[in-house]
Symmetry: D2
Subunit: 386 residues, 4 copies
């Protein structure tokens, strides 16, 4: 299968990132299956047609129901707001289309399970957009864990800190509305951390969390796009219905202890998506704001030169790096999507399921909801309850 | 009161740090009350007499019960193992001596309350050794909080990471035995974090924790001192009866969310005593391994130059710094004790209670035990329950 | 002028970077003039045809002399090895083509002056590829200088450190041969530093340098591409005819002192292109390995919170950043080329010369040669001598 | 020789640092020879008597000529202003006293040679106060070099950056007057870098430098002590007769290239005394503002985890560290003096010359003057010319 024809629904922040990934992939990874940017879909015709032209799509449509049935489309890429994921995915699967869905898969665990079931019944490929796995530095962390070079894992701690809504006059954008976003920092940011934990450490046994909405009312926005929005501070105010911050602790199945924090109220942190793993043979630290770097420590280094190494994951020995620039020449956020799409295309080339796929999406959703339940019921919640 | 005559019980790690603080204080802070190193006390005569000579004490004794009654002693400094604190403190208070006790105050909250009561009934001064408060960078954090320069506090996260017992053959030293140490990483390391949280953010409403003992049996040591020990890996093994790691979450009375982690299993972290505070107007970050630095962020910096500043707290405007060296010339761990003793001597000079005192020690103990209870009972525990 | 049709000569490291810039520009900067990837040129037909397909060029040719005369080409992009720049540029200018030439402009100052003269006589636009100017963090440094926010400049120090040829068995690639490369670390790396110095601080009065070739003979390569090469350590050896490292000092016209170091023998430095500026009101520091960051210090910060700020140049207030991702989402090396091409296209849109242009290339070449002369003659050399 | 009786001349910045070193040494290094603080000397009786009391000296005097002849004194410690070093050292040597002299040894190379000759003729021990050698992290760098773990050295670059006189109204303290200080940033800061270069890399063949006095006139001070001073900006102005900044380049005898910069005009740098060494097998980086750390890189690390390690030189395997606190507990500026005095006392215990001694002081002075000559004569100057 030399080409895959893509129909994509959504063209804002994630839509732009995905479009660019499709554009760039064949230039830097010419040996894999080639995605063809067939059609872009959005509700607003002016918006979607302009985006299609700007991003390089062959065509556009305003009707996703029509799109998912088109014979000339192999793969449906879903990055519309979260409340739309489920219906689209199920319809597309029913039409035999492969699925690439942004995280979170759905607003609820039950919905995400339906989506997985639909995909499996249809026998299509399915991928979920946990793009941070695809930073070369994260891939290096995974490799060190898998090769046993960190030993037995004792600790995983992770935090995703942002600061874009500290201002109490920042408008009530859709990401702050539960009925559209499903969740606040927890589902938006925490979901990434949970996936990284699953990827790097493994399954969790039980969780307990707490959360807070620091600013409970905000002015209604006059317009919004991506993470930014416009509005008057004097506009009528509405209720913030999602969490501003969620923290939780977990015990992993392998005995490791985990702690997680997702917040949009950490001044000075534009996008600190960070984790650390401590094992019996070594440790690693990652911070997305310095995404090309992994801090690595080994207990068996010579005793007078033990210390965290700042590894710049741009050498030919690092995942994906050889496709880019010489060592020391860094890459950026958008490259995580190119690598993600590479994995998706490789799955086509090798005829296998990509990873992460809807199983991972469901697993993440189960933890998200277990945490929410633990908050509601003020108790430890086992993942298997879910 | 120009001089205070000190009798000190304990002469290992903390005893050395305190001795040095008494020695150095008059040279760098000549204007405060002068501590006189009157007598050192320990059980082993050969050890204590050698230490007294080496550290500069005027005399020594092996009998603390005799020491606390001596007329020529004003202040009893208690840094013997934790299980000895209570009896000494109560006897010393009964004899009208002022008290300076290492943390944790006692093995239990009840004991620590008895100690506070004894001190208050005797009308003596009492201080507890939370020395990390006295790093100039921590003092700067406190100043920024108190002056409102960080605004409303949303988050406090803290972790105290060490790695000295990752090796499963490291011997079973007294710090790993509950009957002597009372607690493991929680009471040893977590106690410092809890005090910093109280100092910087305020009281906590409720907590929930988890802990783990990763290595459950260890060889008995042949000798030990401070944090180091000797022993054969083939020695008979005994049970580790304290936690290797404890994590907990809290809600502060002021609405902030807190997370805490103390562990001795974080490879590569020799002594990462670190915290971060996020407020509506700014943030600060501290790491004891770079104890002269405070990372400071303000939301009202000009929009094109916003970022965490690395403030080296060695300028004349910083606490204690003017007594030391020119700007940029850093100080070390032992200086926290010199500043701590400075506070104690200032309390004499100004005839007031020093801070932190036994009230702070009891407050810390209450949180420690509330966390333990939350672990035993797998539920949120309100501090006021304690 | 809505579109500019590009013919590009060279398709290795720089050719790939330029191609990608042309591909990405219209998607992220749709409002500027659009470059059309008309034809790619290289000597090896198999190579150039494959590259043209992979990179997205409409066609290809193996004859640059034919290319520069084609009516359907507006702009000639020259990124062939340095010894080919001059002939191509002069021929292209004679044919009325606009010019975009990689640095260094030519092998000698005299040649670069001819190129400038040719471009000026032809009345075409001309740009030279000093791409590092276009990192948003560097743009921020420039803005702070221009706005006087650093005050009077006292110091500029810069170093470009790499480590890719430390191994004495690394083959004798073209970059190590004077007749092709013109210069070693000096012309390759130092040239970038010199341009940044001109851009950020201004003209230099005089220079004095020193250099060294640490490994004087190397095995001949069997093949090479970009910065990498293959070869046997047992291959016959040839003479390294360029410098492995060059350092020099300068006095700027404005009274500032400058120091420069370019080396390929700094173990651990994959691509440390770094500079610092110290002025009477503040300082900035930049390191390309963390290219999204600028360290900024102001002398007029409140006295208790003075320190270098780590500014992540990804906010909407930073150059180019609004075209990319939300704050905190970093970009990479290749983006410097996209911004560079943006400047070039803006020059078309606004009908002006782009910056940096051949004047800057000549100025840089003059310093390069002045340094070489200062090394040969072991004396200070005034730039105006050149 | 169990004790050495010290007479010390000077009691300001360095005098305080030395006094503290004598006080602390026996407590932390009880196995070495013990310095006895016999007598302190200064011109102002009120000042010196107060200092003697505060610092813990047994007595004081205002007449150094009397002091150097006293029978009960073994060692003369000279930390008076630089212009007084020579006469004191020669008189003390003539009286058979051992010598410990702050750097720079003297105002001129000729003077420093006279001092060395006097010491050698008298057969006394002599040490010069290059204290930065004694940071454990610097000792680690030395160890790595000596053990060949960095391989062949290619580069040494060093800079000592301060910012305490950027304000043009900062008074004309003695350090800015050539007749007292001998030199400005060059002799004060550069001297330390030169000594580190000698210590870590070896002898230099030739040098060329440049310097600048950015602020040529300053108000006369009303009082001054250490690095600080008071004065009115409206006071009469005097001429600054030393350099504000000096840079130079060198070729080492072993073929390495060196670059040096000393300045008091680097805003944001309180005390950045920093160097980097690049060798064929590895590199090290040091910054005094983080003096407990050495960044270490090895070329033979596994290819996927190569990177600079941040080694905290507080482990038992590091020089001096076992005498202090557990790993991760840092030390400060003053400890360099304690270690320096330890070396001096060990020299007594082992009856050998300490290092660095007057030979090192003379070597440093030769480079300082060679640089000055290279500036005056605008040419490379060989060290052997001196």
């Amino acid at each position: 299968m030399g080409e895959i024809r893509v129909g994509m629904i959504g063209y804002k922040f994630m839509g732009k990132a995905h479009s660019h990934a499709y554009r760039d992939l064949p230039m830097f990874f010419p040996e894999t299956t080639k995605p063809v940017m067939a059609a872009l879909c959005g509700r607003d015709e002016a918006g979607v047609s302009a985006a299609a032209k700007q991003f390089g799509w062959d065509g556009y449509t305003t009707d996703w129901r029509e799109l998912v049935k088109r014979d000339d489309i192999d793969l449906i890429d879903i990055n519309a707001p979260s409340d739309a994921h489920k219906d689209i995915a199920i319809a597309a699967a029913a039409a035999g289309k492969h699925l690439f869905c942004e995280k979170p898969l759905a607003l609820t665990l039950a919905d995400s399970r339906e989506m997985l079931q639909a995909a499996e019944q249809a026998g299509v490929k399915h991928m979920v957009g946990f793009n941070y796995r695809f930073a070369p530095a994260v891939q290096l962390a995974k490799k060190l864990v898998d090769e046993g070079r960190l030993g037995r894992i004792f600790h995983f701690r992770a935090w995703f800190l942002q600061d874009w809504i500290i201002d109490p006059d920042f408008p009530l954008v859709w990401r702050l509305q539960k009925e559209v976003a499903g969740s606040g920092s927890h589902g938006d940011l925490g979901a990434h951390l949970i996936d990284l934990a699953h990827y790097l450490v493994g399954d969790m046994n039980e969780v307990i969390g707490m959360n807070e909405t620091f600013i409970k009312e905000r002015p209604m926005p006059s317009s919004m796009t991506g993470l930014s929005a416009k509005g008057s501070k004097d506009a009528p105010r509405g209720q913030v219905t999602v969490d501003d911050a969620t923290l939780f602790m977990t015990k992993f199945a392998n005995g490791a202890l985990g702690s997680f924090e997702a917040t949009r109220f950490a001044a000075g942190h534009r996008c600190t998506n960070s984790f650390e793993i401590n094992g019996s043979k070594g440790s690693v630290k990652f911070d997305f704001e310095r995404m090309n770097e992994l801090q690595v420590y080994f207990t068996d280094d010579a005793e007078d030169v033990q210390g965290f190494r700042r590894v710049l994951a741009t050498d030919p020995s690092h995942a994906y790096a050889a496709a880019w620039w010489p060592p020391g020449h860094t890459i950026g956020y958008e490259h995580t999507f190119i690598h993600e799409v590479h994995e998706l295309m490789e799955a086509f080339r090798e005829d296998r399921q990509p990873a992460p796929n809807f199983h991972d999406g469901v697993k993440c959703q189960a933890v998200l909801e277990a945490v929410d339940r633990s908050i509601d019921e003020r108790r430890w919640v086992a993942i298997e309850e879910m």
